[in-house]
Symmetry: none
């Protein structure tokens, strides 16, 4: 059973936003609509999305800044920009931020759909299963359901545990920057949030300790690295 592709849509114009949302829903997507960049960013870090559609001009936080924040810890998820006018600079800046595409308003619904599908076809190569789960060593992890399937029990993760593990997995075998992670999950990288994160690292280590080949290694002063040793 193929899981629904979930889209994060950030659009301040509620008219257009809802129109797009309903349209995409009829096409079989799950769509979460945010009305400004800030809530969109929070939503992104809470949830688990396969695709992003961001309006460039938005209150609180514009689409480009939003994309930049997301790219600090996630270089995978495709982002498509909606831009009001055909501005050359806009296009250039967007692409340098790792946009996978852009669309100039006004546009046809069908064109949007075509672009989305094209990008998804091109990009989808992660070691993620069809149902959204993935393996960490011998442990099955379902981010959307916040479940960790261990030998016997199957552990329910809390929001924060899940966010942190998701980031670690996204950066598997690579450094997850401490500051970036704090900004992504806590919104601010002060001392106390840092201590809080360390507590969650301890929790995750305990949860994952059943598989000896998994290690959350600390890189002093830089961050953490999820290592999965080869068999």
């Amino acid at each position: 059973m193929k899981k629904n592709t979930s889209i994060l849509l950030a659009e301040d114009d509620l008219n257009l936003g809802q129109l797009l949302q309903t349209f995409l829903k009829t096409k079989g997507f799950e769509v979460s609509l945010a009305q400004n960049g800030k809530t969109a960013l929070e939503r992104f870090h809470e949830g688990s999305f396969d695709f992003c559609i961001f309006d460039v001009m938005m209150p609180e936080m514009d689409g480009f800044t939003l994309a930049k924040e997301i790219r600090e810890i996630d270089k995978q998820t495709p982002i498509l920009f909606l831009t009001a006018k055909a501005m050359k600079e806009d296009k250039l800046e967007g692409f340098s931020l790792g946009a996978d595409d852009y669309l100039t308003k006004p546009f046809a619904m069908e064109e949007l759909l075509a672009r989305i599908n094209a990008i998804l076809r091109r990009v989808d190569t992660s070691d993620e299963e069809e149902d959204g789960s993935r393996m960490i060593g011998a442990i099955k992890y379902e981010p959307e359901l916040r479940l960790l399937h261990l030998e016997e029990e199957t552990k329910k993760l809390t929001t924060k545990e899940n966010q942190l593990l998701t980031l670690l997995v996204k950066n598997q075998n690579d450094i997850l920057d401490r500051q970036a992670a704090l900004r992504a999950i806590w919104g601010d990288d002060n001392y106390f949030n840092g201590r809080s994160m360390d507590v969650y690292i301890a929790k995750l280590r305990k949860a994952l300790k059943s598989d000896e080949s998994i290690e959350i290694m600390n890189v002093h002063g830089k961050g953490f690295k999820l290592i999965v040793k080869e068999a």
Copy 2:
């Protein structure tokens, strides 16, 4: 089981970057993607890569400067440049910096793959094992896991110990320049960092003293030299 060859890819255009990353991943490589030269340099010094692909034009630090920095302490790891236009001067400068090959954009994925494999076949002469470990005298060293297997115990190295030992090993039987090492690991070669490095040299000497054939020799005013005497 053959370890995945790990590639450091520095490319500011995330579109192209991700495209290359996913392509190379499907071909069995481990790919770490950095969006500018500076983070790429940090990543290089922290991690352990078998191959580098650098875009020439990048923000923060361009590909040539990046290569120059790396070549100060690593003369082995192959570097392939991606250049926008076929500029003769670029090529010349690149080769003088120790580039192993070039590719002019746009290029075919398959060609990139062919070049990589050609270089790896040609260059791979390191005494590195298939699993990424290597021997220093009679001591087994696993840089990615930061482990040093001595007679009885197996010592976990700290981040800094590991970085320094990696540099020494890369320049085995050759001088590791003091200033270059400081810039590589500490980012700055001031007095205090220098003293700090001396402390780590002492630590490594102590750790390696179980094997009499290994010596970290000082070359006055120049740097250090890791010497492994023949049996």
